[in-house]
Symmetry: C2
Subunit: 335 residues, 2 copies
Amino acid sequence: MTLPAPPTLEAVAARAGVSRSTVSRVVNGSPRVTPEAIAAVTAAIAELGYVPNRAARMLASRRTQTLALVIPEDTALFFSDPFFASVIQGVATTLARTEYTLTMLIASEEAPEKTARYLRGGNVDGALVLSHHRHDRSYTQLAGALPVVFGGRPMSNEHDDVFVVDVDNVAAARSAVEHLIARGRRRIAHIAGPDDMAAGLDRVAGWRAALDAAGLEPAGVESGGFTVAGGMAAMSRLLDRVPDLDGVFAASDSMASGAVSMLRERGLAVPSDVAVAGFDDNFFAVSTMPQLTTVAQPSVELGCAMAEQLVRLIEGEPVERVRMLPTSVVVRAST
Amino acid sequence: MTLPAPPTLEAVAARAGVSRSTVSRVVNGSPRVTPEAIAAVTAAIAELGYVPNRAARMLASRRTQTLALVIPEDTALFFSDPFFASVIQGVATTLARTEYTLTMLIASEEAPEKTARYLRGGNVDGALVLSHHRHDRSYTQLAGALPVVFGGRPMSNEHDDVFVVDVDNVAAARSAVEHLIARGRRRIAHIAGPDDMAAGLDRVAGWRAALDAAGLEPAGVESGGFTVAGGMAAMSRLLDRVPDLDGVFAASDSMASGAVSMLRERGLAVPSDVAVAGFDDNFFAVSTMPQLTTVAQPSVELGCAMAEQLVRLIEGEPVERVRMLPTSVVVRAST
DNA sequence: CTGAAAGCGCTAACAT
DNA sequence: ATGTTAGCGCTTTCAG
């Protein structure tokens, strides 16, 4: 498998009858080049099928044009969650329009600082951190050494100088629960996400806030770990503890879907016996029967926004610290 | 945002009291270094928190340690399919154990050859191509110029010299349909995938083969484009054309899920009126009610295998041209 | 087994 | 506006 050596900038220069610098300028879109030179170089590039060598460019310019997407250790959970798939889609498509390349970095917990070092070692221009857990302390520390944008508020109170794209999970959860209340539910339980993630905690808080405001007592919380199976188990425990509950707000559609299965298994009808609301508005919401009332969050756009923010940050443009994306309650048959 | 310059190999050499060459040898695991030297260098590396600069390494060694994951233009379909998420998970976790880095490359059809040129331009050591469509001709041509591994047989008869990891879609589909036949179904229709993808065509072929072998007539085929909505629409058309069908084999669980919804909408019971089998065994299979009988394919392992094959190919180890992974029929309530 | 020296292909001052 | 000159940080012959 011997590849013919790709043409170099030098070859282009020779062909176009100019110096390497000029070629470099054309390639990089410098304004200080005559139209004729541009034309000659462009032609030479096309004829030779020249592609700049990234490695050389990185080394010389000390910019890598590479962004890292940091993925938490628990890849199974991460990759099976459609929310993350959508976020990645947003990131990837946004970056496809730029000169930046995306590399996936799995944060291994065997070598927790290996990842951080790779990032700090000048191998990327910036990082996108998704699904930040409480124990992932290294990434918030990273934020001082490298442009970093978090998808979802990181779990750390030490730094308020990080860049974040997020939704208002408290308000969003609250509005979902308010919807349940408006439907006449009074004993509303919650199936929570992991308590080491901001999204999990904030949604609990929103649930509680809505109940408080309505003068209702919390009917119980169980954690479902953002999985279908976890949602089923949590629903089961809730029914054991609070047999007369009439509403459930789950922090994700996957858990809501599990909850609906468990309710059916226990002989309870949705929504007549128990109304169920979820969070995400992904295909769990529409493939569950009855289809789920849920909080829609713009996951693809979240990825787009993360990528945009990071690129701006790297290129020195002004960037707001926190960018909040809108959510909305989508009412379907489960409530 | 001024980053302190990361330590260089030169700094490590100074600290360890050896030459840069020796440090380089240690870093690259050369056997020709004394244990003392190794120890000194290792210590210096740890003290300094040295991380090799990838760009410099790439440039000097002419190896990039980077693999591209080529993603088809239609990112929405790609990212919303849990099959691909699993494959990526397999690829990413496998690569995490190696020195290779994964970059995601979206094949834009505006600049179809831009992608190919990037790949050929010496920017990656190899490429993984997933979800190959008939019109993606450039990638099969690529296979001569760069190590490439396809996930799923590519749609091209011009090249039989490509490397592929796949499942036997014909046999797998056939066994699913045989299961339907064994359940007593006689008028079995098919909801097909896109006909510009091998997986789509092969599953049609498997369906047909099973019917032929049993001496049954095909009850009809409609295409569902691998989406839930497409599955619903296809089911609807099938019912219009073949009102008395009693079995459906869908080429994906997402389409099977859509089919089940449509059957319910039309007042038909699953499986008593119509038995439904899918393909994939992802969460559509278990979140649809009734849960789907389906063909399980090892999607994470497929990603692992692709990554392994590509790395071997790059490193000159022997690699089988086609690696087939096993499938199995998982029987649930929908049949 | 180790060091010295010569680049890898490109960018970025600095001249002109 | 363009060319000249140095490197970027590392690997890799080639000597020793």
